[in-house]
Symmetry: C2
Subunit: 339 residues, 2 copies
């Protein structure tokens, strides 16, 4: 259950940023892992099998770390952040399982995806189980305010996923529509994970809002970079197949920018490849070449830096503490990984 | 949004039982329908489209009716039962959507199933949305006890669905294993839907337990009859294709009994058809003929009557009220429909 983050030599600085927050919440994270394992017990042996594949085999635990570090930043000294961090990870993992069904991707974190190994049926049902267990953990925690934050996030994530279906394969998707999907399906859970920390510590609304804003902007930057990595990372670094988004015709910011900045011939290329999904050998390489020529990858990273800067300022109201520095460092990690 | 229940002349008595409970909660049911419609609003137009297909196009609303009638039986006079009944229906509908992905069935309530029309992706994601909205409705209600009952039920349903995968296509499945799946995936939501009524009315634990037992046994009987109908109903009556379970190799009580009572040749037949899914023309007819010869259909109904009788006695502690009579009548409806 070690933390596996594949990074190359050049990323030593970002690796250090990740290590800093990780070592700050290390003990709590062990407790979170135990709660996760305990809650995967079931009469149906497939559940721990399949869920272990995803949960126990080395995700970064980014989202639960946010809950743990946010709670500590707010001076929380109890134990409730552990169960809620596990709940956040369950929601995230349920989403991954259902995403894999949807995306038919073959690799996830460098391993064969769950649905490739166990089939779509199992992924859907075990995802439902994790989602239900997430709620059971929140109910056991007993805070209606926390329940409201996390159930609202779960609802928005599902809405964002459906919204994404409607922009699928349409290269004319606007940057605004893309951003709406990113915030709903990724950033809202980051936001909720952070906000919960302030609520646990019973801090004033301004601090809850500051942490929420930090999470929302961090999550947006994280997803933007993720979408760039799908066209630029080494497979080892990314931990999943490069070009997945392209092959599915998924509309991410690099495509949105390249399409809008492209000439007529390039637009025909995008229409053929991501709209009609009529792809041939060399198309991915050509897509990347066009993106580079149109600055679509570099400018997507610039957009990510913008959200990163907003996230950093959101932390401004908090006193200097190791957790504040660690959360700020996480912004660098999210943006600079693999660069 | 009318209630469509397809019944033939001979079922007039059971139809009357359904009508009785329906007319008792009619006004509340209208309010439930409005809450459902309000909560299907979304930025993603696919959500109301797809969900309306299932929710607004005429299910029997059996589960929300249970919450409404149970609350009334306990003398509840507030309005909270309406939102919680909608929440119960959302959990049920989310399960249906995910079931359709799993089962690849083509007909649901006599209409093309949602996934046949919109694809598996949409069914998974809109199911997630409904599930999340169900929780949002419960959180808005604000009772942690109700949240515990319904989140436990949701967790058990998902577990039951996964459990069902492991018995799929195995004709040696025991009656006990079959029953475990039925209670988890169907009966638990009936139980929770009823128990919530007593909790809302702040009735003593004995009444909450009595309604829970009524629901659990009613739900078990309901599913047993459903599984028999898949081999015996007229398509118009059932509202879905006859023989679906057989074609998928789904192990239900009629198969369990027919296999255990069968001779060597019959067991080879079940192994070929439901285990190896090597089916040819005339196999469904032969399956039904064997079931009839081995009394597997009639005896499954007898088992259902047993659970129905337990459900009826569970109601015994309540005073004579129209709701008590209506809930008792619902047992007859569930068992005798299409007989």
């Amino acid at each position: 259950m070690g933390v596996v983050v594949n990074l190359e030599g050049a990323e030593r600085k970002t690796r250090a940023a990740f290590d800093r927050i990780h070592s700050l919440v290390q003990e709590d994270l062990k407790a979170v892992n135990q709660v996760i394992l305990d809650n995967l017990q079931s009469r149906a042996p497939l559940i721990p099998q399949l869920a272990n594949h995803l949960i126990a085999s080395g995700g970064k635990r980014l989202r639960p770390m946010l809950t743990l570090a946010s709670a500590k930043l707010c001076g929380y000294e109890g134990l409730r952040h552990v169960g809620l961090a596990a709940s956040v990870e369950f929601i995230h993992t349920a989403t991954l399982l259902h995403d894999d069904v949807v995306d038919e991707s073959d690799l996830r974190r460098g391993e064969a995806s769950a649905n490739a190994l166990w089939g779509n049926e199992s992924s859907v049902l075990v995802g439902d189980f994790l989602f239900a267990r997430a709620f059971r953990l929140m109910v056991a925690d007993g805070s209606l305010r926390v329940l409201a934050i996390l159930s609202e996030a779960a609802s928005t994530i599902a809405e964002g996923e459906v919204l994404q279906l409607s922009t699928a394969n349409d290269p004319e998707t606007s940057e605004a529509s893309y951003l709406e999907v990113v915030q709903a399906k990724t950033a809202m859970l980051f936001a909720a994970a952070c906000e919960v920390g302030a609520v646990l510590a019973e801090r004033p609304q301004t601090e809850a809002e500051a942490l929420r804003s930090y999470g929302l902007n961090l999550g947006t930057a994280f997803q933007l970079v993720d979408d760039v990595l799908d066209y630029s990372a080494h497979e080892q670094t990314l931990g999943k197949t490069i070009g997945d988004d392209f092959r599915e015709g998924k509309i991410t910011l690099p495509v949105v920018l390249a399409y809008r900045r492209g000439n007529a011939e390039e637009r025909r290329f995008w229409q053929r490849t991501v709209e009609d999904l009529d792809q041939e050998a060399g198309d991915l390489e050509r897509a990347i070449a066009i993106m580079r020529a149109r600055d679509a990858l570099g400018d997507s990273i610039k957009r990510a830096r913008h959200y990163g800067a907003v996230a950093r300022d959101a932390l401004g109201i908090f006193p200097e503490r190791p957790e504040k520095e660690a959360l700020a460092g996480l912004i660098d990690f999210c943006i600079d990984r693999a660069y």
